[in-house]
Amino acid sequence: MDLLEYQGKQLLVEAGVPASAGEAANTVDEAVAAAERIGYPVAIKAQVQVGGRGKAGGIKVADSAETAREYADAILGMDIKGHLVTRVWLEPAADISAEFYASFTIDRSAKQYLGMVSAQGGVDIEEVAASNPDAIAKVHVDPLLGFQPYHATNLVHRGGIPAEHRRGVADVLTRMYAAFESLDAELLEVNPLIVTSTGDVVALDAKVTLDENAEFRQSLDRFREIFATDPQERMAKEKGLNYIKLSGDVGIIGNGAGLVMSTLDVVAQAGGKAANFLDVGGGASAELIANSLEVVSSDPEVKAILINIFGGITRGEEVANGIVAALDKVDIPQPVVVRLDGTNAAEGRQILADNPKPNLHAAATMLEAAAEAVRLARGE
């Protein structure tokens, strides 16, 4: 779960990492009122889950109520790389004497946690990684051992942090790692980590990704907002479905990320293009299947729907019942091609056979199902 800048910073502060304080606002009036409370100069920052806000004009510093109103009005409603700005964050304009980069994340390849620090913060860090990789210090942390003083020492020295700021940055790194663990974060990235003119080390921005698997011990609901502008993505999120909009016309429903990805590929190989990715996961219930059909069929681009299920934990009869229920309950205008194999597939196929529908097509194999769906989408 990706957090907005200000949500991430609030969590960091709760976890003991110093970060700039401020107020969020959803309207221009709210923003101006917040600016008045905070005082000037005040930074007004678009809250979107995408990088490059500054270059896109999503961050402005206002020095009066008038300019605050002007900037808030410009930023709210702005489209930044397809993300609609519906909220801004206001904080005192920072008094920056140095800007660094610091992050903790999971290195799948090394199978350890990875800490990174660079004295070249406040800029596009991927560019630094490409042009001057030695400017970014990396340290792997054994999850059993945890972050030790020597990790911090190595990061601040090899990352080029000036001598006078090493102690302060090392302290913040130790706090960041503790937050990374205690928040169940997959990513905790601070760029820039600034030094103020009084020598304080503070997170001025934060990109925080939390692990939704840890929901049983973290309160994530407070961050569960739906930012998607696409109507199917909104509907899918509301129903808790794992849905991604794509640009084709064959709606896809499958179980297991691997099989769904493979289904997208075979649709392309059959000459079509998938309209979406939708993984119903393991052990999908009839209701989940019905919800999925509803979301996919609501997309006006979708001309045919392909359901590709290979049962393991998911049982064929549940899938079939879900399809029958959805076709009974909702008006599904598109033809639906169903391919069912694996656990209780015979029972599932029987249920479909016992409940014939005019737009329901059975296919014996995945490739045949893909070809059929592509053919139907073309109106053939």
Partner: protein, 288 residues
């Protein structure tokens, strides 16, 4: 012959008294697997259709000679069961549980590496040696005994390929679903190494996906060490690029991890790569 599980496998099921654990453990036993014990703290002394239940894995191992731990417990308790199994001295852990937090998986991975205990999963369908033993949740009716070893990250995609192989007359020595989480216990490379050393396996089918660099590493290993024919399939050519918010991930991985890059790495290592599950089975059938 087989890898990981065979006729000597004796399974202790953590979470046997739960709904999923009971369902699949009894299916595993019905398939012929020696399911010798269940483990549920506080339920020691009970039994599930004749399978004795113990309070601790240590007791299950001592009393029944269990050498394999099959874990079905919910995410918040799953890594604890895996630690316990490792300390109890089993030879293999198969952890089916999906949804374990990554900050629980990461230290478990380190511990098992240090202790030298292999784990399949978490978030995996388990291991099936057709005709001999099934430890996990794979549907068995699609598999048939034979001499092709199969390894895959994805559950259902594994079933799809096993199904295609069986339909083309290629039985399997062992089918291994290693799981899709960042900190799984055994990676492609570990499984391919075992297949290469297994006298019961003549050829290897390796299924990959976008993300990470495990398939690329495995390709290097294949080029250097594997003498048996290897057939590959990578899913995700049409997949949308993963949305990653921060930059740290991009710094670590560079531009690796695409299906194109993985397929190219496998082909460069001499692996015949199919474009879809049917094609990889056809390539194997044509060669074997």
């Amino acid at each position: 012959m087989a890898i990981y599980v065979d006729e000597n496998t004796k399974v202790a099921v953590s979470g046997l008294t739960g709904k999923e654990g009971r369902f699949h453990a009894l299916r595993n036993r019905a398939y012929g697997t020696q399911v010798v014990a269940g483990v549920t703290p506080g339920k020691g002394g009970q039994d599930v259709e004749g399978i004795p239940v113990f309070d601790t894995i240590a007791e299950a191992v001592r009393e029944t000679g269990a050498n394999t731990s099959l874990v079905f417990v919910p995410p918040r308790f799953a890594t604890d069961a895996c630690y316990e199994a490792a300390d109890a001295g089993v030879d293999l852990i198969v952890c089916i549980t999906e949804g374990i937090p990554v900050h629980d998986e990461a230290p478990l991975y380190a511990y098992l590496q240090y202790r030298g205990v292999p784990m399949i999963g978490p978030n995996c369908p388990g291991v099936l040696t057709p005709g001999v033993a099934n430890v996990g949740i794979m549907p068995t009716e699609i598999a048939s005994p034979g001499r092709v070893g199969l390894v895959s990250r994805s559950g259902t995609l594994t079933y799809q390929v096993v199904h295609e192989l069986t339909q083309k007359g290629l039985g399997q020595s062992t089918c291994v679903g290693i799981g899709g989480d960042p900190f799984i216990g055994q990676f492609h490379i570990d499984v391919v190494r075992r297949f290469n050393d297994d006298p019961g396996t003549d050829a290897i089918v390796m299924i990959g996906e976008i993300g990470g660099d495990e398939e690329e590493r495995c390709a290097e290993f294949i080029a250097a060490h594997v003498s048996k024919p290897v057939f590959g399939y990578i899913a995700g050519f049409e997949a949308p690029p993963g949305k990653k918010m921060g930059h740290a991930g991009a710094i670590i991985s560079g531009s690796k991890g695409t299906a194109q890059a993985k397929a190219a790495a496998l082909e460069a290592a001499g692996v015949e790569v199919g474009r879809n599950p049917s094609e990889v089975a056809e390539l194997a059938a044509a060669r074997l």
